[in-house]
Symmetry: C2
Subunit: 288 residues, 2 copies
């Protein structure tokens, strides 16, 4: 199996579906729809939708069954980026190498574009199977006990003394919850049995944390050109990060260990989970 | 049937369910949960959840079947208020007689509290029956082709020359869509047949517009004390309103006609729709 070709193929399918499913930029309210498409089609790793599609196939399902959940995940993820970048939150000007949504359009449009993408995610899920279960997974992952809660605590923690337990809360919620949902939603859409769902849930927990640790490392070691967004910003804001807590070398080692554990968790799924193993390695070896 | 006692009873049930279902204010992230509860439990007419419950009973269903959709509607409505009040949008300091969410807490918390309430609405719907259909109704009503689209065009229209078609787009989307969803979701949860659903859809279309026309009138004729928020603000911002377009007397007459038409649409539902008829009258006769 050519894992890289397989993953490229999934990403291609995601890009095409995004462009097709989003409201057209000339449909009223045109500025809002343009802003939604701008942020959603600006590139990105598409990690969550690819995880979702690969998880569906890893349990013996079809990627077609997981397409709507996959696109819903990317819409939801993009809304979190748009809102996190707002002046009242992280106040970032650059994202994926492009001006952030409120810089390109304006603040009101960026707030509304985020709101609309969040809502659109649930509209897509309502058309998927099993709709109720998928919507429940996403809502729990995304709400005040998930991504939004993580961002709230991340803001609350700025400038405070680092504390490992608090940091874990922030990252399992801010980043981990949606990665977990990506794998579980793909598994559900692919008709996973309980053992398969449990394996993917473990895998997702490990890579979610690995991804965040790697992010903290990149914030220190990368250039803005490589990353497509500002670097060094965590230290400037005295943000609680794994690098601040453990040092750079220890953080790097921890990311690799987490990736290994993620791959081990895939054992019950056999060869069909190879692309997911490759993604685990990718989350810690990436340069952007 | 004592319609007023019935409606008071429904409102009481909504208040109790809101307090019970929302995450507790001392659960982490505590500031976020406190903000969600602050905005949601600050009072209000509870028009949408009451419409939802009354619609369920008007088609012969139970209010218990419509309780989760009803609470979801109020969560969603409250999120739109929190975001609309933000400095980047309508920049309002007062809502329901209390400081707006970003005034009481801060801007970042208000953005996140809105995001979390929007997400929570879909979490509640995922637990309701028929989940997929209810989620689809709400998502379509709330997204870029619904409430968010209406708010986007409302902002775009500020300071421009009034135009009746544009105004209709704004109001059918910004206010009308969610009132329509309230009635249709209640009907769906109550097991409506096609004729009952059609009757409630017509009714909702008329009262949605009546509600907005009455709102425009109140913005001119009320005091801030009566309304619990700033008045005269539409004229100050040169907002496109029915009063600006038709004049005060004609706008009042139009609201009454719409209420009459709404009540006429209820005919197929018989006596069970009496509370909905009373609500139609209330939407145009209210003083706040």
């Amino acid at each position: 199996m050519d894992v890289n070709a397989y993953l490229a193929d999934l990403r291609h399918e995601v890009e095409a579906a995004l462009a097709r499913l989003l409201p057209p930029a000339d449909e009223r309210p045109a500025r809002l729809h343009a802003a939604m498409r701008y942020s959603l089609l600006a590139g990105g790793k598409r990690l969550r939708p690819v995880l979702c599609l690969a998880s569906a196939e890893a349990v013996g399902g079809t990627r077609a069954a997981a397409l709507l959940p996959a696109i819903a995940l990317e819409c939801l993820h993009t809304y979190t980026l748009i809102h996190d970048d707002l002046p009242a939150m992280d106040d970032d000007d650059l994202r994926r190498g492009q001006p952030t949504c409120h810089k390109k359009f304006d603040e009101a449009t960026a707030i509304l574009a985020g709101d609309a993408l969040l809502t659109f995610a649930f509209e897509l899920l309502a058309r998927a199977t099993p709709a109720a279960q998928l919507a429940q997974e996403l809502a729990q992952a995304a709400g005040s006990r998930g991504v939004v809660g993580g961002q709230a605590e991340d803001l609350a923690a700025e400038g405070r003394a680092p504390d490992a337990q608090w940091l874990d809360y922030i990252h399992t919620h801010k980043t981990g919850a949606l990665i977990r949902a990506a794998c579980r939603m793909g598994a559900l859409a692919g008709g996973a049995n309980a053992a398969q769902l449990a394996a993917l849930t473990s895998y997702a927990g490990e890579i979610g944390l690995a991804f965040q640790v790697a992010d903290d490392v990149l914030n220190v070691t990368s250039t803005p050109e490589q990353l497509g967004k500002a670097t060094g910003s965590d230290a400037a804001r005295k943000k609680l990060t794994y690098v601040a807590l453990f040092g750079l070398d220890e953080a790097r080692a921890r990311a690799r260990t987490l990736a290994d554990e993620a791959i081990a968790a895939l054992a019950p799924l056999g060869a069909r989970a190879e692309p997911l193993a490759a993604l685990a390695r990718f989350t810690v070896e990436r340069s952007s």
